[in-house]
């Protein structure tokens, strides 16, 4: 395995005649925490959807752990090692927290189509599920319906699910959107702990979160990467200030 987990080379995406992304080049190192920022409509979500397989790129190649994944269907990309969360919370609200997480762990153990739960592998699945619950301080919530949890807890469940599939690249789409300051801080700590040893790419609007969590930041403006650098470099750059921080930072 190389030191590059995810690599994008000249990736472009058009919807009809509208070019949303043009010539995106990006390399994300193993274990890196990378944030994508940029004004609304810059193409962040589209880029996420290309990486996770919701759309196929118009041109260019996307490589995950050395394998080309551009244009594959989402479940195949997941099996190649990618876990993602969504901008709007995507937990299964009517299932219990434990069932939610078990669904993600079942996939990792290759038990997607089992009728019954017999055999040693189910012991492993149960143990792994409980370990994730324990690690996320969700053990007391295990048998509650996910939809009955507080919003920040639902996001925590969702992050557990992205991790539970065994993915080594985690994509988080605005993980702290709509949270209070206190909840946000809690979630940042949580993300840092849960993604330990994995590679993280996230879209985030909250600059405090970005500068607090990310090792490197890419600024996306009008479908192009304006610059990539450490949080300090991004903060100091005049072009970024003009394009984004000046108007966008709240």
């Amino acid at each position: 395995m190389s030191d590059i987990t995810l690599s994008l080379a000249s990736v472009a995406k058009s919807f009809g005649i509208v070019r949303v992304l043009e010539a995106i080049d990006l390399e994300i190192a193993r274990g890196e925490r990378h944030a994508l920022i940029g004004p609304n409509g810059a193409g962040k979500s589209t880029l996420f959807n290309l990486i996770s397989g919701a759309f196929a790129p118009t041109s260019g190649t996307i490589t995950l752990n050395g394998a080309a994944i551009g244009g594959l269907v989402p479940h195949k990309i997941n099996r190649a090692g990618l876990g993602r969360s969504f901008q709007i919370t995507h937990v299964f609200d009517k299932l219990t927290v434990r069932e939610n997480i078990m669904l993600s762990v079942m996939g990792r153990f290759g038990k997607r189509w089992s009728l019954l739960r017999r055999g040693p592998v189910w012991t492993d699945i149960a143990r792994e599920t409980d370990a994730i619950l324990e690690g996320a301080n969700l053990t007391t919530r295990a048998h509650k319906r996910a939809g009955d949890l507080a919003y920040s807890e639902q996001r925590a469940v969702e992050i557990c699910m992205t991790v539970g599939t065994g993915a080594d690249l985690i994509l988080l789409d605005e993980p702290t959107a709509g949270m209070s300051r206190e909840e946000t801080e809690h979630v940042i700590t949580f993300i840092r702990r849960m993604t330990e040893g994995r590679t993280l790419v996230m879209v985030e609007h909250d600059m405090d979160v970005v500068f607090n969590l990310a090792d490197r930041v890419s600024v996306l403006v009008n479908g192009r990467i304006l610059m990539t650098g450490t949080p300090a470099e991004i903060r100091a750059d005049a072009r970024v200030k003009e394009a984004y921080l000046g108007e966008g930072a709240h």
Binding site: F92, L95, E99, L103, S104, M106, L115, R117
Partner: protein, 313 residues
């Protein structure tokens, strides 16, 4: 009193037959968002397939062929037709199934003619299950009801207690997330569509033998099945069960109630006996055809999401 019991039983069994068809429709809608106009066609195809196969495989073989054959047709429709229009949105899917509905009806007319065919319950199964007062109750009706109950129990257990059921329930709630977790949702959809179609096929193979097998059966039942799904709540299997029974019992009950509107109004003193027997001598049973729609209207007015539906739909 006896007639009331018979009417109730008939209602329950007709309701259970409705449920066999509508459960597939509501499951498919809940999972895939497809309002399958051709679903009642699967009911019709089940009857015709069974009718055709009966001569070769016998009655039970015919029922099996009807069920599995329609499941296969459903699978092909989903995999090779619906999937191609999915990216264009639900309206296109709806139009496609609308087209399928007519295509199936015309195909059946082409091969079997425009009139009912002589598909019926074999002599060996025509005996009374029990008698109520003077009336004997046919065994095959009871069998239709029992099949529906067994089927409901099977679906319920599959969805509730098995791991694969967990995946299916999750896919109903949120297909995108299930995909993101590495599950092949398209395969789940194809399988579900096939199962839903197969259930309608089973209902057709059994119902067609007892009632009539004609090219109109899809049209006749299709509308009622949609009413069931709307009243029960789109996507809810439990709701479909309640709505099916409600409509079955309601429709059968008024047929057996030998009263007119005039008599009812006269009894509560709103009109004179003369008006009741002249102008308002409309029998209550004539409303049987309207009742399901009246029920749907009331449900849509006061509980738009249906009896057991959630706010999503």
């Amino acid at each position: 009193m006896d007639t009331v019991v018979v009417a109730l039983l008939n209602g329950v069994i007709y309701g259970l037959l409705l449920f066999m068809i509508s459960s597939g429709l509501t499951l498919i809608f809940g999972m895939m968002g497809i309002l399958n106009f051709a679903h009642a066609s699967f009911y019709m195809l089940g009857a015709y397939l069974a009718f055709t196969a009966v001569t070769i495989f016998g009655f039970w073989g015919g029922i099996l062929v009807g069920t599995l054959g329609v499941a296969l047709i459903g699978f092909v429709c989903e995999r090779y037709l619906l999937r191609h229009v999915r990216s264009f949105g639900h309206v296109q899917e709806l139009l496609l199934t609308f087209g399928l509905f007519f295509a199936f009806e015309e195909l059946v007319k082409l091969f079997y003619g425009p009139y009912a065919v002589a598909y019926s319950v074999p002599e060996s199964l025509r005996f009374a299950a029990f008698t109520i007062g003077d009336a004997s109750y046919p065994f095959f009706r009871v069998l239709i009801g029992a099949t529906a109950i067994v089927m409901f129990a099977a679906i319920f257990c599959l969805l509730r207690f098995t791991r694969i059921g967990l995946v299916v329930r999750a896919a109903v709630l949120n297909p995108d997330m299930v995909r993101a977790l590495g599950y092949n949702v398209s395969a789940i959809f194809s399988a579900m569509f096939a199962v839903g179609a197969g259930l309608a096929g089973l209902a057709g193979a059994m119902g067609g033998a007892y009632y009539t097998t004609s090219p109109n059966m899809a049209t006749e039942l299709g509308v009622i099945v949609f009413v069931v799904v709307v009243v029960g709540g789109l996507g809810s299997v439990g709701g479909a069960l309640i709505a099916s029974l409600l409509i079955g019992i309601l429709v059968n009950a008024v047929v057996y109630l030998d009263v007119t509107f005039g008599q009812i109004l006269a009894t509560i003193g709103l009109v004179s006996q003369k008006t009741a027997s002249d102008l308002l001598a409309v029998p209550l049973s004539s409303t049987a055809g309207v009742l399901p729609f009246l029920l749907m209207l009331l449900v849509l007015m006061f509980r738009p999401q249906g009896i057991a539906g959630d706010d999503r739909a």
